[in-house]
Subunit: 224 residues, 2 copies
DNA sequence: TTATTATTCAATAAATCTATTGAATACTTG
DNA sequence: CAAGTATTCAATAGATTTATTGAATAATAA
């Protein structure tokens, strides 16, 4: 009866892949790499980890084939191995966000402290886009906007928003988006904009979700 | 900057959920519970674990809200909390089966030892069903068939197949299916049937996948 | 070549996970 | 109520995971 051995082996391998995903830091890394490739130092500073610790986590994800690396001169850039990795992370995130009371509470509490508005969905944004009465605002770093953004979106990275606020229409509704539902750039943008009297809200999902759903995307050829 | 705390908390909670999934035994339990509720003893005997160990794993899945329990007299039946749990497991399984070389090798090796045929997909079965030249064979336990099965499928549990083999047409193609791609009942059925000269193959996915895709399903009202 | 930069490795300690054992609990039946 | 059954709990030891530290690599620049 090597049926038992077969099952132990296969479920064992699948558990290894899942364990490589099952860590708060590594999940945050996946959310970042869903925007495109980044070198170790950038990943470390974004997640608030030390370089050595980040490297160690990247190594464990690499040996589980969740990520791959390519060298560019001195830098080693990491990227997700396939869109299947992002899809798996997405469905886990979905499970957590929409059926785990603790996660729901954390997210609502955080938003209540900032702008206390229900975010809109990709579907809702798609409808608003057709009406032309809305400005879609990408508040991620410029580099990520260039690699790909929602069709017709305007780019103002969150740390330039206060300076460049007069680029924005005061009459149209503004929908900000960023890296994903756990990214707070869009929340910060909404808080700032509403404080100045704009009619602003955030989209719940991020750019990678929009792209994964096959919705319209624009790209600016980047130097990297 | 409680932005960092927010992220640590949310990713931390999501990691807990994922860790509750990231174990070979617990994955096998999810595959079983995707067929419907089962008491602890049945889960233990199916997975070859001790009762105490099974109970401990079920408790950890329960506290991560992957499963829930309901008491029926002396027995406590466990079931998946929502179809989101199955979907998350499915997309991880997908990632493993289709982009992990080791898992691919294990599955091919196992099948080569049995019937050495590429399984057919749900799509392919759907097309064949229309032609009426195919018999769909459910080889799971009777109880699971009664809770729900592929439209028009015939039920012969794998351990009765040798006895009841004359119920089957020798001219039509026979497509066997079972609990999922990691379940071997259908492989055993194909091996037995081909040994007796039948034209048989297995469907890659299992009943829960078929149902999750919204494909046609029949149910027999069960006593439970 | 040497110095510099980005990343990885190795060693360690604390924390967590797992299987096993046997005792404890909770419900049902007589 | 007592006896029986199904499940959980508690304690333990071995294995695995994690963050930290400082040293080691590998490519580039001077």
């Amino acid at each position: 009866m090597d049926k038992r051995k077969f099952k132990n082996d296969v479920y064992g391998e699948l558990a290894k892949v899942t364990k490589a995903l099952a860590n708060p830091h590594r999940m945050e890394i996946i959310d970042l790499l869903a925007q495109g490739p980044y070198p170790v130092e950038a990943i470390a500073s974004h997640t608030g980890m030390t370089i050595a610790n980040t490297s160690q986590h990247l190594q464990s994800m690499k040996s589980a084939r969740l990520v791959q690396d390519t060298r560019h001169g001195n830098f080693i850039h990491y990227h997700l191995t396939s869109e299947k990795v992002f899809n798996a992370w997405r469905s886990i995130r979905e499970l957590g966000i929409h059926s785990n009371a603790e996660v729901e509470r954390l997210m609502q509490d955080y938003r209540r402290g900032h702008h206390s508005m229900e975010p809109i969905s990709t579907d809702q944004l798609l409808k608003k886009l057709a009406s032309n009465e809305v400005v879609v605002l990408d508040v991620r770093p410029e580099e990520e906007y260039q690699r790909g953004h929602i069709h017709k979106a305007l780019s103002i990275p969150i740390d330039q928003l206060n300076m460049r606020i007069h680029d924005l229409s005061e009459t149209k509704e503004i929908i900000a988006y960023c890296r994903g539902p756990l990214c707070v750039f869009a929340d910060e943008a909404v808080e700032l904009l509403r404080g100045k009297g704009f009619n602003a809200n955030r989209m719940e999902e991020g750019f990678p979700d929009w792209a994964a759903m096959g919705l319209p995307v624009d790209t600016i050829h980047s130097k990297i």
